[in-house]
């Protein structure tokens, strides 16, 4: 093993030796610089590997051969080694990224870069306070020098401001060091630990040390100077500044605070949280990509500072959590800065240029997911463990603030990602070249590798090692293939997985699995219509299906949550593919993440920090005091997914604007995940009361209100897919109501809805999508009379709406029959009224759907339309056949589930004999119903044929029109505002109360961001004053508490 001191030595040595060489041979010089950085990285990596595998022990290096405090000592443990690798690698890649500037400015700049990397590395290794000071000074000078590399004029100002502030920091630090020496008699960090920190001077010393280091972390609001650097410096350097310097500074804080004692931790927590939340709020309003990244960096550093503040409760997991967050931040932020060097424009929208390069989009997605802490990246694992620890220690407010911050952060990051995918891409907006791309992809690879490493941690569930997740990743690699081949593979993968696992599931899980996995395969048949490569679709879809598959497999809280997040992420990318879906996908991911955080908190509350915690263990807390809170949190999360009224506003847009084959996936399948969660939760927790209110009753009310309002809103839609989306809200309301009844038949009803809603909603979305493919519009009133041109689509819509409205003989009726039997012995009477109202209202929008599209007057441009593409029809016809079969033989799916639910509730209200079903109250004989109806229908039809077989077939204008004739089909088709009389009576229900509420919330946060942003005036003196005021304020608050 080479000594790690060589990292410093090589850095410094090369920097000096550069000065001795001929300045003209720039390429050689640059090569030497790179080599030096490469060697430094290699050493760091070697140490990391050795330490991680246990091949080496933590190295203590004493310079000058004497023990501290008489000499400087350096330490390289695993965290140090990992950070060193990060710093040196970032340095190497940054050098590559800045190659043009470095070559232009020659050896001096390269030397400064090397010094910076060396100094940052030294900062990590050293255990001596004064040495620390020296390195910080070195960093300050080197940074100021490198800032000037940029050709941006603002960089000069930024560099100057930076120098001013660093001097303040240095002074504070120096005074702190002097005080410390005075107090402890040593400058070695390890000695401070031993010495008592009892008297006032010591805590003041500690305060000065810490505050200096904290200001180095650019906390909000004392950070105006740093943001100017991010905005104006070369992005290659900004990456280094954010990833390497920031991480090292954090490490130093950690180093210093560890001996100082736990009483300092709340200070760190407070500053960290303030910085995290506030920076993210301000970032919401940023237009400039690099400044936004700057705010995000500040926020992330604040987050990690807050995590350092939690080191007392994190215990063994501390390194895992903090490390995960630091590495996620560093890799992602560095990657984004380097990418920004390729994007020509500085506006966020300019990133749309990335869209032309699929791998770049992948890189962007990777970095965004890493920053937000989504699976499978280290931040995700870290976030989970952090939440567990915080809840176990009773620090819910801290967790809440962190999650709030993450949510805001995801808001602007995903908005930005949405811009990149959806906005107009400028010509030549991307200055891509092999080197920059290489840097970016190296970073991406690093990110994924870290994800794998973190998943492989002790006692962890490695997401990337599961078969479904691997499949999803494989589909990223398969991207160059033709879409049809990929589609075939995807279907095979889904069916294969189902065949593999189906045997192990209980009947209820089996139904969910059948809907989610082979059900997904059936919908994928429709994707055969798409030609070309269809980049991005299959990885996203397979990620979603992987999430669903893992969800069903999950046995522990973590597995469940991880699967949930994977599913959310995959579906977000899927939804974002829609043509107009940018804002809707954003609101989808935000609501989903909000819901997911509720689930996270709920799980953490339930597990009490015990890892891993089996899902079945949830029932152990059912009797505990916190059980109702767990119930509320989990339910909130699941209700967000099922889009219960109040949390529904993401759904209509997301489902309506998605692509033809995506809408049925997200509507027919994805919504069921929420129901699945509710089932799991209720099975374990049972009824819970909060302040005397039975929470299942609340759920029932929410379900009933969703069922009713969803239906009413659907009635007023002009857009066919939006109508179906609102209808989903209503249908999920029914299912929710059934689940919340907490009796056997209620659950059976919900299961029936799981099957039925999947079938008919997928069918209707596909049919409407097929029509959209031909007419290029979703506005129903622009269509009309398509029945003769698209008979198959018509049949599937017809069967779909009969089934959905519950009219016998199709399967929807079964749902209604079970519903009536279920409510017979329920105590809930009032919400029933809403459910009863919802039924006929549903009839309204369904009729409108079929009438305005297929009946009425055919429009001019549609006269020559063809039937929808055959591959869109195939799944529809499968669904039609299934619906009819299921109507006659409901037992084929329900009987087993019925038995299973019976085993949960310990009763068996339904008796199945032959094809007939009897309950305590009534009976249902589907075969007889079908037979009678078919017989009567055929008989009446025969009479009509006998009389009217010779009827003259007429055309669309051959109608009696009060003795006039129709003018144009557009003016004859009664379609727009179809239920105008209904609107007159019930239109008040359309008032967008919920939308206004959420609009107010986002508006408020944005307003806060706008207000806070004015704080940054751009004036160096003001910034210096900020820093001083910040120090004074913190002093007053902190010393008041500590001393």
């Amino acid at each position: 093993m080479v000594s790690p001191v060589l990292i410093l030595a090589i850095g410094l040595g090369t920097a000096f030796s550069l000065g001795l060489m001929k300045p003209a041979r720039t390429r050689v010089l640059f090569g030497i610089t790179l080599t030096a950085l490469g060697v430094m990285s290699a050493i760091a990596l070697g140490w990391t590997l050795a330490l991680a595998t246990g091949a080496a022990q933590t190295a203590e290096i004493h310079t000058a051969g004497v023990a501290p405090p008489f000499a400087i000592n350096l330490r390289v443990g695993l965290p140090e080694a990992a950070l060193l690798s990060l710093i040196t690698l970032t340095g190497l890649l940054a050098a590559l990224s800045m190659r043009a500037a470095l070559l232009r400015l020659g050896r001096g700049s390269q030397a400064v870069l090397l010094v910076l990397v060396m100094a940052v590395s030294g900062l990590v290794m050293t255990r001596d306070l004064f040495n620390l000071f020296v390195f910080i000074e070195l960093i300050a000078i080197a940074t100021a020098g490198l800032v000037l590399l940029s050709q941006d004029e603002r960089a000069i100002g930024a560099g100057f401001k930076y120098l001013v502030v660093s001097q303040i920091i240095s002074i504070l630090l120096l005074v702190g060091i002097i005080f410390t020496y005075h107090a402890t008699g040593s400058l070695n960090i390890d000695d401070i630990t031993v010495a008592p920190v009892a008297f006032r001077g010591a805590s003041l010393a500690m305060f000065l040390l810490l505050i200096a280091l904290i200001v180095e972390l650019k906390p909000f609001p004392a950070n105006g100077w740093a943001l100017d650097i991010y905005t104006s410096a070369h992005p290659g350097f900004s990456a280094l500044f954010s990833a390497a310097t920031g991480s090292a500074a954090l490490f130093v804080v950690d180093k210093v605070v560890a001996p100082a004692g736990t009483e300092w931790l709340p200070l760190l927590t407070g500053i960290g949280l303030l910085s995290f939340v506030a920076s993210n709020i301000v970032a919401l309003r940023q237009e400039n990509d690099r400044r936004l990244l700057g705010y995000s960096s500040v926020g992330q550093l604040g987050l990690i500072l807050a995590v350092i503040g939690q080191r007392d409760v994190l215990g063994d997991a501390y390194l895992y959590v903090a490390g995960g967050l630091i590495l996620s931040h560093a890799v992602a932020k560095a990657g984004l800065f380097w990418m920004s060097s390729m994007v020509r424009g500085r506006k966020l929208e300019d990133w749309a240029a990335l869209r032309t390069r699929a791998p770049m989009v992948l890189a962007f997605a990777t970095f965004v997911a890493m920053l937000v802490g989504l699976p499978p990246f280290p931040g995700f694992y870290a976030k989970w463990d952090l939440a567990q620890a915080l809840v176990a220690a009773g620090r819910l407010p801290v967790l809440t603030l962190i999650l709030l911050g993450v949510l805001i952060e995801s808001a602007y990051l995903f908005r930005w990602f949405g811009y990149a995918i959806k906005r107009e891409a400028a010509e030549n907006g991307l200055a891509s070249n092999p080197v920059d791309c290489g840097i970016t992809f190296a970073t991406v690879a690093g990110g994924w590798a870290l994800g794998y490493l973190w998943g492989n941690g002790p006692e962890q569930f490695n997401l990337l090692a599961t078969l479904p997740a691997i499949t999803a990743v494989v589909f990223i690699l398969l991207e160059p293939l033709d879409a049809r081949i990929k589609n075939g593979l995807a279907i095979a993968a889904l069916l294969g997985w189902f065949a593999m696992v189906a045997g192990d599931y209980d009947p209820m899980r089996l139904i969910f699995a059948a809907v989610m996995i082979p059900g997904g395969a059936v919908i994928l048949l429709a994707s055969f219509t798409e030609k070309g490569r269809r980049l991005g679709f299959y990885p996203s879809a397979m990620a979603m299906y992987a999430g669903l598959a893992l969800l069903l497999e999950a046995t522990t809280f973590f597995e469940f949550f991880a699967a949930w997040e994977v599913m959310t992420l995959g579906s977000y990318f899927l939804i974002l593919r829609g043509r107009m879906s940018e804002p809707h996908a954003l609101s989808y991911i935000l609501f989903s993440l909000g819901g997911a955080f509720a689930i996270l908190t709920g799980f953490a509350l339930a597990s009490g920090g015990v890892q891993p915690h089996p899902i079945d263990g949830l029932q152990d807390v059912a009797a505990a005091d916190l059980a109702p809170w767990v119930f509320v949190l989990l339910a909130a999360g699941f209700l967000t997914k099922t889009a219960a009224m109040g949390l529904h506003i993401w759904l209509p847009g997301a489902h309506a604007e998605a692509e033809t084959d995506v809408s049925p996936m997200v509507s027919g399948i994805l919504l069921k995940a929420g129901l699945f969660g509710l089932f799991l939760m209720l099975m374990q927790l049972g009824r819970q009361s909060l302040y005397g209110v039975d929470l299942t009753v609340v759920l029932a009310y929410i379900g009933a209100i969703s069922a009713f309002l969803g239906a009413v809103l659907a009635v007023f839609q002009e857009d066919a897919k939006r109508l179906l989306a609102y209808s989903s809200i209503s249908q999920m309301g029914y299912a929710l109501f059934g689940v919340a009844l907490m009796n056997h038949l209620g659950w059976l009803l919900a299961m029936m809805f799981v099957i039925n809603h999947y079938v008919y909603k997928s069918m209707l979305f596909l049919a409407v999508g097929g029509v959209y493919k031909r007419t290029h519009t979703k506005l129903m009133y622009q269509m009309g009379g398509l029945i003769t041109l698209m008979p198959f689509s018509f049949v599937s819509v017809l069967v779909g709406i009969i089934a959905m409205s519950g009219v016998p003989p199709l399967s929807g009726f079964g749902g209604r029959w079970i519903f009536y039997n279920a409510i017979m012995d329920a105590d809930l009477r009032l919400p029933l009224i809403l459910i009863f109202m919802a039924g006929p209202v549903g009839f309204l929008y369904l009729f409108r759907l079929i009438h305005t599209i297929f009946l009425g007057q055919l429009k001019d441009p549609h006269r020559k339309l063809k039937e929808a593409p055959v591959w869109i029809l195939v799944p529809q016809m499968i669904f039609v056949a299934f619906l009819i079969a299921f109507a006659v033989l409901p037992g084929m799916a329900l009987q087993k589930v019925d038995g299973y639910i019976g085993s949960i509730f310990g009763d068996q209200p339904l008796v199945w004999h032959g094809r007939a079903i009897t309950s305590e109250f009534g009976y249902w004989n589907p075969v007889a119903i079908m037979a009678v109806i078919v017989m009567v229908f055929v008989a009446v039809f025969a009479i009509l044929i006998a009389k009217n077989h010779d009827a003259q077939m007429v055309k669309q204008f051959n109608i009696v029109f009060s003795a006039e004739r129709p003018y144009r089909p557009e003016t004859t088709h009664f379609a727009w505002n179809f239920f105008a009389p209904y609107r007159k009576a019930m239109g008040f229900l359309e008032t967008p109360v919920v939308t206004s509420f959420w609009g107010g919330v986002t508006g408020g946060i944005n307003g806060a961001g706008e207000f806070t942003r004015r704080f940054y005036s751009g004036n160096g003196q003001t910034y210096a004053a900020h820093v001083l005021l910040f120090v004074v304020a913190v002093y007053l608050i902190a010393m008041g508490g500590i001393a």
Binding site: D860, H862, L865, Q956
Partner: protein
């Protein structure tokens, strides 16, 4: 014909242009194709009316005719001042309902068209349309002298003078206007005709379709509909 001034007629514009909404037009389909729309062909059925034979068994036809006679559904369409004379038929004093006579608001369900008085050319077009949209067997009754020979509108520039030139009239009820009693008497006559199997106006119209059309088109200059309004 002494009044006729041969030099008078000055057809300024003999050919009336087809109305804009009926002219062939080109539209772009959603796929970007250009297609030709011919409204009269694409939106209206072009088939000619058919002659419908009587039921094969005479007694069945007699039974049907009896039913038709006792279930006269009048199209609620008042063409002229005579419409006012129909309203009393619904009142207690006359009550036509007792004879199986009812008013229907849609031609599809009506089988008796009452031309109640003078018929301007503009209304004639609507009357023809309404008649053709009724389903056979169907009957036409002309009310008042205006439908017989023009009556007081004998020299009007805008009213037809002889209804049977344009529609197959089964029965005229004379008078200016005929009173409700006369109308009832006329209905009784019509019933007799129908029961006797003589109410074959629809078939007559189909048989002499060309003649009727020629007559109609000679007065309706802007023929803006298909030849037969199904």
């Amino acid at each position: 014909m002494k009044d006729v001034d041969d030099k008078f007629l000055k057809n300024i514009e003999t050919e009336f242009p087809l109305r804009e909404e009926l002219r062939p037009r080109r539209v772009t389909t959603p796929d970007g194709q250009e297609i030709e729309i011919e409204p009269l062909k694409d939106y209206f059925c072009e088939a000619a009316p058919k002659v419908h034979p009587k039921a094969y068994i005479p007694i069945v036809e007699d039974f049907y005719n009896w039913a038709r006679a006792n279930s006269l559904w009048i199209l609620g369409f008042g063409t002229g001042c005579g419409a006012i004379e129909m309203r009393p038929l619904m009142t207690p004093r006359f009550d036509a309902y007792r004879y199986g006579i009812q008013w229907r608001p849609t031609p599809r369900q009506a089988n008796l068209l009452m031309i109640s008085g003078y018929l301007s050319v503009k209304t004639l077009k609507r009357a023809i349309r309404a008649y053709e949209q009724m389903q056979g067997p169907k009957y036409v009754v002309g009310l008042g002298s205006c439908t017989i020979n023009g009556g007081m509108y004998w020299d009007s520039y805008n009213t037809i003078k002889r209804l049977d030139q344009y529609l197959p009239v089964d029965l005229y009820i004379a008078g200016c206007m005929p009173r409700p009693e006369a109308l009832l008497a006329g209905f009784m006559e019509l019933k007799k005709l129908i029961k006797a199997g003589k109410g074959e106006g629809a078939n007559k119209y189909a048989e002499n379709f060309a003649t009727y059309k020629a007559n109609q088109k000679s007065v309706i200059k802007d023929w803006d509909m298909p030849d037969y309004n199904w």
